[in-house]
Symmetry: C2
Subunit: 197 residues, 2 copies
């Protein structure tokens, strides 16, 4: 678990002027979310986006039968929020909960929008975040429609290299949209194959 | 099939000044895509977003085994594009094909970005489109993870009221991520239930 500072993220992923970056960083608040605590519950309007510097959050829904469905893990360097709930100011259908003690940055969306109105480089940065989010969601849909359990698992290990060691298998299976039994089978088959080769 | 003019869409869904709307509409080109023809093929960089005024497009991928996976239908009033491919200028993994003779508006993304830089109401409109897209993708992931075949089907009939009459069952099953046999079973069960009640 390597801490990823939001300031470093901004330096590597935007072309913001130092003064603008400073203004944004000064406006962002830090939050500590204790393991098990909720940042968002279904029914509430999501107010802000989080950037995880250290720790791990999960973003999930609960269906009518009480079953949980994990849409996203947010470890170090990931954003998490219900952007639609924030933007349209409507109740969220999702929960955000800490799976580990977590240090995160709270992005103030209205301040971000104001900055985007004033500064083109910031608008471009914001646009990049939104398009990156769209890309990630689209890939996920394509995976859920087309990939086998093994392919989903291998993809998962690429985008979340260390999550397998940090969360229960049940949550990984939930994220992959497969049964825990399928996940065990896939892992066993891969281990056997790797052992032979 | 009711034609939905892009000009009317803009009037109802944005707060753009008439002169700005005029400038955008003058810049947009029309395109006629013949049934069966492709607008985008996997491997190409997607250049533009389409708004369908009349007709029907599908957005899909083909997996290693040659199987098609339908991510989105775009009937009248829908946008379709690989936004990530446009924004990051990278090859798309998707195909866009006309399922009917289609009249669409081509949105010039660089012009849209220029407009967004110059005009706040346009930036807000663009932001709204992006967030709406995120909301739709997120709902789709949640559906694929959590909903039964029947729930998926009922949701489908709500968001695409007339598509069932316009495309082969196989494509609907592909969109829903279920087998054609499951789709037949669901439709039969619902018909029986409705007949009884």
């Amino acid at each position: 678990m390597i801490e990823i500072r939001f300031a470093d993220f901004l330096s590597s992923n935007s072309t913001l002027e130092p003064t603008l970056m400073e203004a944004l960083l000064n406006r962002c608040k830090n939050v500590h979310i204790k393991k098990g605590d909720f940042w968002l519950r279904a029914g509430e309007a999501c107010q802000q986006t989080l950037f995880v510097e250290n720790g791990l959050l999960r973003y999930y829904s609960i269906d009518d039968k009480g079953k949980e469905h994990l849409l996203q893990f947010a470890p170090e360097g990931w954003f998490v929020s219900d952007r639609a709930s924030i933007f349209f100011n409507e109740p969220s259908a999702y929960f955000i909960q800490a799976l580990e003690d977590t240090e995160a940055i709270i992005l103030d969306e209205s301040f971000m929008l104001d900055l985007a109105k004033k500064d083109v480089s910031f608008m471009e940065f914001n646009n990049k975040l939104l398009h990156n989010h769209i890309r990630q969601l689209q890939n996920r849909i394509n995976q859920l429609l087309s990939a086998s359990a093994e392919e989903r698992y291998l993809h998962f290990t690429r985008i979340y290299p260390d999550i397998l060691l940090r969360v229960p298998q049940l949550m990984v299976a939930s994220y992959l949209g497969i049964t825990p039994e399928s996940l065990s089978r896939v892992r066993k088959e891969l281990a056997q194959r790797n052992h032979k080769s």
